[in-house]
């Protein structure tokens, strides 16, 4: 065939594309049908359970739902606020600790040791205990300048707890950059610090975005743990409504609000992972 011939789609190709389309349609309809069957099955099993009428009354009560929604939603704004303040703090703490753990200069050994101790301790202690200890212990010191506001204390506790996890994520990202990149940068005359700043960290950060977002989805939920200190956030508001009405529906309200917040984040994480995958495949 001579060069420069324009492509005219052959009948065979037309037929092939028709087969592919019909197969795509078929798999889409199978997916829809199986999802439907599954949903119906779950609904049938749940609504036929012996205790269903009681559960429906106690957990799915429309009236209580409508009654609790404004308060719980108002409380939820506090969760969002805690999350939005804690998140950047965690990123800073995590990055600094990760860098401190990578310091190799002998004179700075104490910094490295402290950073290691920090991640060991705060990853080891359950988040709810950290919140108790910081929330009730820190003001107990009666030190000047120590905040006594419960929300602030909650944010500090969450930052300390999550900072340890995020530091480990950053560190694994830094470790995953091949030594040849450092060799190339150092041989251009860049110092250790400049190599980190211009070569290692930009690549490492890109790599750790999906696991970081995963930690943040988890953080969004854990803002509810601050409820144990007393601030009127979503879970606390729901608890109050439950105590008033002897009905558990307000918990469902809080759960739905948390889901509404975390789902976009989860989809965004998927989207980023998919984009990375596509770039590698290309």
């Amino acid at each position: 065939m001579p060069a420069g011939v324009a492509w005219v789609k052959s009948d065979r190709q037309r037929e092939r594309e028709r087969v592919r389309r019909s197969r795509a349609r078929r798999s889409a309809s199978i997916a829809t049908a199986s999802t439907f069957v599954f949903a119906v099955l779950v609904a049938v099993v749940v609504t036929n359970a012996p205790g269903w009428p009681r559960v429906r009354e106690k957990f799915f009560n429309g009236e209580v739902f409508a009654d609790a929604l404004p308060d719980v939603a108002a409380g939820f704004l506090l969760n969002i606020k805690i999350f939005l303040i804690a998140e950047p703090c965690i990123l800073v703490v995590g990055l600094l600790v990760a860098l401190a753990r990578g310091v190799r200069t002998p004179a700075f050994f104490p910094i490295r040791a402290l950073a290691t101790l920090y991640t060991d301790v705060f990853r080891g202690v359950p988040t709810i205990l950290v919140i108790f200890l910081i929330g009730f212990g820190l003001p107990g010191l009666n030190l000047q300048g120590v905040p006594t506001d419960l929300v602030t204390l909650g944010i500090i506790a969450l930052t300390l707890s999550y900072g340890a996890y995020v530091a480990e994520v950053f560190r694994s990202g830094i470790d995953s950059i091949h030594p040849s990149q450092v060799a190339a940068s150092r041989s251009l005359g860049l110092s250790h610090a400049k190599t980190l700043r211009h070569v290692v960290l930009p690549q490492a950060t890109r790599r750790v975005v999906p696991p970081l977002l995963n930690d943040f989805v988890s953080l969004q939920k854990d803002t509810a743990l601050v409820a144990t200190l007393g601030p009127l956030e979503a879970l606390r508001q729901a608890q109050i409504h439950v105590a008033e009405s002897f009905n558990y529906t307000p918990y469902l309200v809080a759960a739905l609000l948390f889901i509404l917040l975390t789902i976009p984040m989860a989809r965004f994480t998927d989207h980023l992972a998919e984009r990375t995958r596509r770039r590698r495949g290309a």
């Binding site: 065939m1 060069a3 011939v5 492509w7 065979r12 592919r20 197969r23």
Partner: protein, 247 residues
Amino acid sequence: MSLLTIDGVWKHFRGNSVLRGIDLEVRPHEVVSLIGASGSGKSTLLRCVNLLETVDDGVILLDGRDITDPRVDVDDVRKRLGIVFQAFNLFPHMTVLDNVTLAPRRVHGVPRAQAEERAHDLLTRFGLAAKARAYPDQLSGGQQQRVAIVRALATEPMLMLLDEVTSALDPALVAEVLEIIRELKQSGMTMILTTHEMGFCRDISDTVCFLDDGVVLEQGPPEKIFGDPEHARTRDFLRVVLEARRL
């Protein structure tokens, strides 16, 4: 009858036509070389044969069967093909022996003892017997590529596809890999290979195809293509490549 028939194959990437109506016949026990500049479509053509890429038009028949039909089971087609990549693509977490026995055991259902015995035979044949327990990163590039060839051979493919298998190797290691390919030819293996090693290509090929801008511009026995090419583009390409060699 041909073992492989490629008939009017087109492939586009983002509006760019990489293959523009390729026709090619490969008879049993034949060695066909694809030569041409980077981007001429050599690797894409191999990937189309292996169904790593879906063709946008045309048909590929393997042993008389249309493998470009969308209803065809791609795993079943690939079972009968062996491919060796430029960058070896060995599995770094497995020993040489496990790399070689993976497909026979997991795809073809060969019992472990039998698969390992056959792997040992192949490794011995290609001078790798001592490396069976080694991991890929403990081997030289030439050894890794030889293992990759053994891995492809272990499933007894009817056709081997070799995609610039020496391009990532140090000149001192190229010879050991080329030697294996010569031995494969002697054993009657049917092969399609893309290469920049013109001397080797001339020596081993039954047919040489010059690809230019997504078409087979010229094909024939190596004496004809290297000795008396018809097209000016073929002559230019060969002159540039051979001059670069001399430098």
